[in-house]
Amino acid sequence: MAAVRSQREVWTNRAAILAVLVALVVMLAPIYWITSTAFKPRNLATTVPPTVVFEPTIAPFVKLFVKRSQLREPVSEEVYDAAPWWEQMVLDGGEKVVRRGRTGEVRSSGYGKRFTNSLIVSIISTILAVSMGTLTAYGFSRFRVKGEDDLLFFILSTRMLPPVVVAIPMFLMYRTVGLNDTHLGLIILYTAFNLSFSVWIMKGFIDEIPREYEEAALVDGYTRIQAFFKIVLPEAMTGIAATAVFCFITAWNEYAFALIMTNRKAQTAPPFIPSQVGSGLPDWTVIAAGTFLFLLPVAIFTFLLRNHLLRGMSFGAIRK
């Protein structure tokens, strides 16, 4: 280590830091925009120039979850005072909460259900794609498979067709077998999408694990299955984490198929959010609130797996 760095190195270093900062600002700007808009009162959301300092409110989140309609005339003071705090927030915006005719039950906007659908479909399809992918990759990596290269190429080739090309035939097939607008339908679709990716990435990781690890376990008296669970899985953890994050993001963000294949029961959040731009003047704070919540699961998932990911993202290149 040279104690004295050359002037040139110092400048290169500073330039690099500056470049990273610029890139960071550019990339974080939309996230800042969404986050700040999600906490703004409606009248501050579209000001020019943008309002930077404001008193944050959770009104957009309240509005996000309940069904609202335009008030024709302001409600009386008694009604306003009798309303709970969250309903007052809606009334403040010149809207009223829609209730069911007889029971008076508050009607939901449907966002909560879409969000739950997104979670169900993404989590289950990720688990399926990663576990099936890992097992398949293990088989390809450790056993002599006839036509291994051709099979692996075939698996990869399922990704070569652009989704738009298969969307219509898929839609027709799904309608015939009744998988339209079902969780199962989307889960199958996303698992199939992610499986080829998962097999290829996991094969890379498992190839990197020396066979001797398992062989040592085999002579020590373990069965192959036990060796797989006790030795291969822990060793492949970084790869599994990286693959899981990628599969989850793909499934979570998927828009086109979700739009075509689902409409009510199994609809996920991505096709729902833009539909709220809807008629009349869009309430951008509500859309921002929906988008903000939608960003959270991926952020949390990635954060939880960050230790594995740092090593896993290099796809085995600097493992150990």
């Binding site: 020396p210 001797e212 690890y213 062989e215 040592a216 376990a217 085999l218 002579v219 020590d220 008296g221 373990y222 069965t223 036990q226 030795i231 822990p234 060793e235 150990k320």
Partner: protein
């Protein structure tokens, strides 16, 4: 502990035959070392015994029971790999205890067993470390500990210290020997290193190209090599081998090295059994005797090269068209081009059938 018997095993990898009719018996408590060049099939043999590789033909018996169709996990054998044999995600303690978990030993016995091998191998202070925090020597110590902890029927080691540097290897060699003496486990040990083989083995197995060449005690393979391959493989510097012709009768014979007119006189009891087939003579450098005076039966020659090695010199001399290497005391000759007298020690000479390479021995 157990006896291992290998009966005529053969192994093909696709079209390639890597083991050809290999048979051997390893006695209970014996330490057998397999020696041979890279790719000769040592690892494959070891893996076949362990059950990590199936054999194409032949039988493997452990304690008289046929095991060639049994899984590795059912053979009760331990294996030490050259590298990669510790699980990175487990501590040293967990690594050593891992085989005991397979047999569902209870926790307190397990602890005692781990402690015992840790003591023998002097690795107690390392028990809580992860393998990545160990030196190469310690890693292999732990690997051997893991192999021994279960008290398996046999211990198979595939170049367990081959990746270590020279000093550490010497030290580990001594430790493995000590360990074997104290535990008495039936052991099969693979190495490239002759000195390792000589110093550890009860018997050495020499392989070439998938064929077992000779099996015998270290001094036996050194003093009585079964064929030209073994003769030239064992010993350093390599044994001189040259084509020779014999002239003479019962009282002895002249051994003529190619291009040389004079020949060396060999007494009858050494050459009497040779029957006139084309011959090769094998003679180790220490049996090529140089002197400054015209000793009886010696030939005057010129030195062509001198390699000083500290404790001794290796001197090349030209006899006819052949160069013989001789081991002399340090500084015996001053340099190349010097006139010396060379003689051969008939009692240390080996004759081989030139075509088959087999050693030709008399009744002795």
């Amino acid at each position: 502990m157990a006896e291992i018997e290998i009966r005529n095993i053969g192994k093909f990898f696709g079209p390639v035959e890597v083991l050809k009719d290999v048979s051997m018996t390893i006695a209970d408590g014996e330490f057998v070392v397999m020696l041979g060049e890279s790719g000769c099939g040592k690892t494959t043999t070891l893996r076949a015994i362990a059950g990590l590789e199936s054999v194409t033909s032949g039988k493997i018996l452990i304690d008289g029971e046929e095991v060639q169709d049994k899984k590795a996990s059912e053979r009760d054998i331990a294996f030490v790999f050259q590298s990669f044999s510790l699980y990175p995600h487990m501590t040293v303690y967990e690594n050593i205890a891992f085989p005991l978990r397979a047999v569902r030993m209870n926790a307190s016995d397990r602890q005692a067993a781990v402690k015992e091998v840790a003591e023998i191998l002097r690795i107690e202070p390392l028990l809580n470390r992860k393998p990545s925090a160990l030196s190469g020597g310690d890693m292999q110590r732990v690997a051997i500990g893991r192999a021994l902890v279960r008290r398996p029927k046999a211990l198979l080691m595939d170049e367990p210290i081959g990746a270590l540097d020279a000093t550490l290897r010497e030290q580990m060699r001594a430790e493995i020997k000590r360990l074997h003496i104290s535990r008495g486990s039936t052991s099969v040990y693979v190495t490239h290193d002759q000195i390792e083989a000589m110093s550890l083995a009860d018997r050495i197995v020499i392989m070439n190209d998938g064929i077992l060449q000779q099996i015998g005690a270290p001094e036996e393979v050194y003093l009585r090599p079964a064929n030209l391959f073994v003769a030239q493989f064992v010993g350093s510097p390599v044994m001189n081998v040259t084509d020779v012709a014999l002239e003479g009768g019962d009282g002895g014979a002249s051994v003529m090295i190619g291009g040389d007119k004079q020949g060396f006189h060999f007494p009858g009891q050494v050459v009497g059994h040779l029957n006139g087939a084309p011959l090769s003579l094998g003679i180790r450098p220490e049996a090529v005797l140089l002197s400054h005076d015209a000793a009886h039966g010696a030939i005057e020659v010129e030195t062509t090269n001198v390699e000083p090695l500290g404790s001794h010199d290796i001197v090349d001399v030209r006899v006819g068209e052949t160069v013989l290497r001789s081991r002399t005391e340090a500084g015996f000759v001053s340099g190349e081009g010097q006139k010396v007298w060379v003689g051969l020690d008939p009692l240390q000479a080996h004759f081989f059938d030139r075509d088959s390479g087999q050693a030709l021995r008399g009744a002795n």
